[in-house]
């Protein structure tokens, strides 16, 4: 820096001491680590309370070290030394099923407990009809004037949503639940898998992949009961977790022969877990008496910590996140596209610009007040429902979505827009065909991170009157709380040493797992995006 040079001229080299630099360096290190370490200590403490590893039989630990941990570490170490990218592939092959299984379970919960498959089917058909009309009219767009197309589409949408759900629900014979799910989830998933395969391996492979995906989904309800799964969840898990995992593994096997060896890792991990489980069962070693167990994940709240569960809160969180995503994504991306691609640079847009940045920093309790005022007091909606909570949280993360979406749109090189204009494309065509596809992964990443913030919000839910103790929500107008609210209630209203070390700890771990699963998707998307650029 320039001052250094001047000092040097005035004082010669001055007094040179290494100590200052060393101290400074380690102070920086301390400031880097202080947050991570303190949070880490808390998490270890909480995880210990939730899982209680020390309550397990020593034989249990020994079995799992020998059958599971040691082989996994050995294979991991071998891969690390041989080929780091293979290790990376192996870790991905572990992560893809783990994360997709979490999300598939969330979807399965909704189908089993919240949305009756028949109603879901009715609405899917009601939405599909206008979509087909949209595709058809777009195909012949050169023959039909724009306004006529819009009018047709609007009429079909209104008619379809008004008539179809009621008509389907009153049919004397309806498809069985698993078939509905297999059709409505299996067909789109097969379509996506087919498109993916088409891009990589050509049309013939695409057809077989899509057919295989569909067959697997339809077969799942029959195969599920043999391993103790009901037909309906088995179908959902196969469509949303089985197929993606198979496609990922297939890609590695076909396209990356040099990384195939990485698949050893998930094999060893899964086999180790199964073998360990079998041995422990056979020898009668008791596992840890974890608080976070199946009972905890599937029960309602109870005043006794040992019987308390978090299931209604999990479903509440899922429902809230669905509403938040549906409400905030279109609005946020729309605002970002307008501000980046259309808005003129004038005082008005600059004011909007500054305000959006500030809104992102407004405390969440203020948004809670906003939700209470707008939706409950002014809008006359029932306080504490899924819709009110979801829309309040959507308002909360809207600025974050706008900012991150703008960031993503801005990163599309201007040369690409110019090339598009140069080929005679209009601005709308450029946005649709160049800007949005190119920036989509970035937009998605920002949205998922924003949802990750919404999932942990407590204050707005308290403000809009969410109930502390609630039962499984089964409709959008059901009163609902979410996981963080449940934790807050356990920590305050039911404050007792038992709750602190049992249900509360297990709830924290559950919430963090949900949040990390969302963030991991965002991170993977971001990495992929960066590699492609």
């Amino acid at each position: 820096m320039s001052t250094d040079a001047r000092d040097a001229v005035e004082d010669g080299f001055g007094h040179v001491s290494r100590t200052v630099g060393t101290v400074f360096r380690y102070l920086l290190l301390v400031s880097t680590l202080v947050g991570i370490v303190t949070l880490g200590v808390l998490l270890v403490y909480v995880a210990n309370d939730a899982i209680r590893p020390l309550t397990a039989d020593p034989g249990w630990h020994l079995t799992f070290v020998l059958a599971f941990a040691l082989p996994s570490l050995l294979v991991g170490g071998y891969l690390y030394r041989r080929d780091k990218s293979a290790l990376f592939t192996g870790l991905n092959a572990l992560g893809v099923p783990a994360v997709s299984l979490l999300f598939a379970s969330a979807a399965a919960m909704l189908f089993v407990d919240v949305v009756p498959p028949l109603i879901w089917f009715a609405y899917v058909v009601a939405v599909a009809i206008p979509l087909v009309v949209l595709l058809a009219t777009t195909r012949y767009s050169h023959r039909i004037p724009f306004l006529a197309r819009v009018a047709t589409l609007a009429a079909v949408t209104v008619a379809s949503l008004g008539v179809v759900p009621g008509a389907i629900q009153s049919l004397p014979f309806v498809p069985q639940a698993w078939l509905v799910v297999a059709a409505t989830l299996g067909v789109p998933v097969a379509g996506v898998a087919g498109t993916y395969a088409d891009r990589r391996w050509g049309r013939r492979a695409a057809v077989s992949v899509a057919v295989a995906a569909l067959v697997a989904t339809v077969a799942a309800p029959f195969a599920g009961p043999t391993i103790g799964l009901d037909p309906l969840p088995a179908t959902v898990l196969m469509a949303l977790a089985g197929v993606p995992t198979a496609v990922y593994v297939g890609t590695v096997v076909v396209n990356q022969p040099e990384r195939r060896v990485g698949l050893l890792l998930p094999l060893v991990v899964v086999a180790g877990a199964l073998v360990g489980g079998a041995v422990v069962d056979a020898l009668g070693f008791a596992g840890p008496q974890a608080w976070i167990d199946w009972q905890f994940l599937t029960s309602d709240h109870s005043n006794t910590p040992a019987e308390a569960g978090i299931y209604p809160a999990i479903v509440g969180t899922i429902l809230l996140m669905v509403v938040v995503a549906l409400a905030s994504f279109p609005v946020g991306v729309g605002a970002a596209v307008y501000l980046e691609e259309y808005a003129p640079d004038n005082t008005f847009t600059r004011v909007v610009d500054v305000n959006i940045s500030n809104l992102a920093g407004v405390p969440s309790v203020v948004y809670g007040l906003l939700g209470l005022g707008v939706f409950v007091r002014y809008g006359g909606m029932t306080p504490g429902t899924v819709v009110v909570g979801g829309m309040t949280l959507a308002l909360l993360i809207l600025p974050i979505i706008i900012i991150s979406a703008r960031e993503a749109i801005r990163s599309v090189p201007d040369s690409m827009r110019q090339a598009s204009y140069g080929m005679g494309a209009t601005r709308w065509q450029t946005v649709k065909n160049v800007v949005l596809p190119r920036s989509f992964p970035g937009i998605l990443t920002g949205t998922i991170l924003a949802l990750g913030r919404a999932i942990g919000e407590t204050a707005p839910l308290l403000m809009i009157g969410a109930p502390q103790i609630f039962d499984l929500p089964t409709a959008l107008d059901a009163r609902v709380g979410a996981m963080p609210l449940q934790l807050y209630v356990w920590a305050t209203t039911f404050a007792s040493p038992e709750f602190y070390t049992t249900a509360l700890a297990a709830g924290v771990v559950t919430l963090l797992v949900a949040m990390l699963a969302m963030n991991s998707i965002a991170i993977v998307l971001r990495n992929k995006y960066q590699r492609e650029q």
């Binding site: 069985q176 057809v207 504490g384 209203t493």
Partner: protein, 339 residues
């Protein structure tokens, strides 16, 4: 991927399409079943007790909250399909924001409804039905050997527990008492008992001296007081009755003489200021729905339960007479609402 064999591929995909649609059609026919929801009404309340379903929303006092959640759990053991949401908003907040605007079916209250609240409710067409569900009574306990004190005035209690210049020795409060150090026990700040005691004794909720042994576990208070001659503590009446041999309950003098804590004095209102009635207010219009009415009946029916009210929550249960009175009032309201 760019197709120059377009025609052939079209053909292929058309044949595939036919095969696929045929397969889907067969599967569709095979997977059809009779519509379970066809004709029947789902999810509505019917008179049949086993099939009650619906949602009940409760808000209001944080003091009654644990009692309400207790009743919810017990009720759902019999009627698992009825959903009960309980929110702790404080008595006033519940009336103002939830009950009177017509958003909840019950409002818990640790005091009777005020005239202003009644007015607000009637403006919105909500008619509250007052149901007394329990009595909250706190008991001040000392060691069995503490022969110098049987009765304590509210002023003396305030002096002992106030955060301003808290006395260290018994003789600091009353010259007749021994010159020994206090050994104080009480509930921790998270407790509703603490809130209530500080409110009526010290004069402000949450305001208390802090140099006492605070615990969430009532048995710690009993043990501590029973083992130390110069100890004093306070706790819910229900817990004292279970341990009345090991500690001595003090009479309290609020200006009208010494009153011993007991079910009778707590209910008659003589044992002031440490006892108060707890209510829930039902919205009469909600009682028209069978699942709400049934929950109200269940609550009143169990308001005399030692286990639910006294042991699990620590309040004084209703007497049989009170239960009968509340039940009459409730049945009349239900009849009116459903008739």
């Amino acid at each position: 991927m760019t197709g120059n064999s377009g025609a052939g591929r079209e053909l292929l995909s058309r044949r595939n399409f036919l095969v696929a649609s045929g397969a889907v059609g067969v599967a569709g026919l095979a997977g059809c079943t009779e519509n379970p929801s066809d004709g029947g009404d789902q999810g509505t309340t019917t008179g049949d007790s086993a099939s009650l379903s619906g949602t009940i929303n409760i808000a209001g006092s944080s003091t009654v909250f644990p009692l309400a959640t207790q009743m919810k759990s017990a009720f759902q053991r019999e009627y698992p399909d009825v959903k009960v949401n309980v929110q702790s908003t404080g008595t006033g907040g519940g009336f103002q924001n939830n009950f009177c605007p017509g958003n909840t079916d019950f409002n818990n209250a640790s005091r009777p409804i005020t005239d202003a609240e009644r007015e607000l409710c009637s403006k919105n067409g909500v008619e509250p039905v007052e149901l007394k569900v329990a009595t909250d009574a706190l008991t001040v306990v000392v060691n069995n050997e503490a022969g110098w004190v049987d009765c304590i005035t509210v002023d003396e209690l305030a002096q002992i527990w106030s955060p301003e210049n808290p006395p260290q020795r018994w003789s600091d409060v009353n010259a007749d008492w021994p010159d020994e150090t206090f050994n104080l026990f009480g509930p921790s700040q998270a407790s509703g008992t603490f809130d209530y005691f500080t409110e009526v004794i010290v004069g402000e909720e949450g305001k208390s001296r802090t140099d006492y042994k605070a615990t969430e576990n009532d048995s710690v208070i009993i043990q501590g007081v029973s083992k130390n001659e110069y100890a004093m503590g306070y706790l819910g009446f229900a817990y004292y009755t279970e341990n009345s041999d090991s500690v001595k309950a003090l009479k309290v003098d609020a200006g009208d003489g010494c009153i011993a804590p007991s079910l009778e004095t707590a209910k008659s209102g003589e044992y002031t200021p440490l006892s108060r009635p707890l209510f829930t207010y039902a919205a009469k219009s909600s009682l028209a729905e069978e699942h709400v009415a049934e929950f109200a009946r269940f609550w009143i029916e169990n308001s005399t339960s030692q286990e639910l009210v006294a042991q699990n929550v620590g309040y004084v249960p209703n007497t049989e007479d009170e239960k009968a009175e509340m039940m009459d009032r409730l049945e009349a309201a239900i009849e009116e609402a459903q008739g």
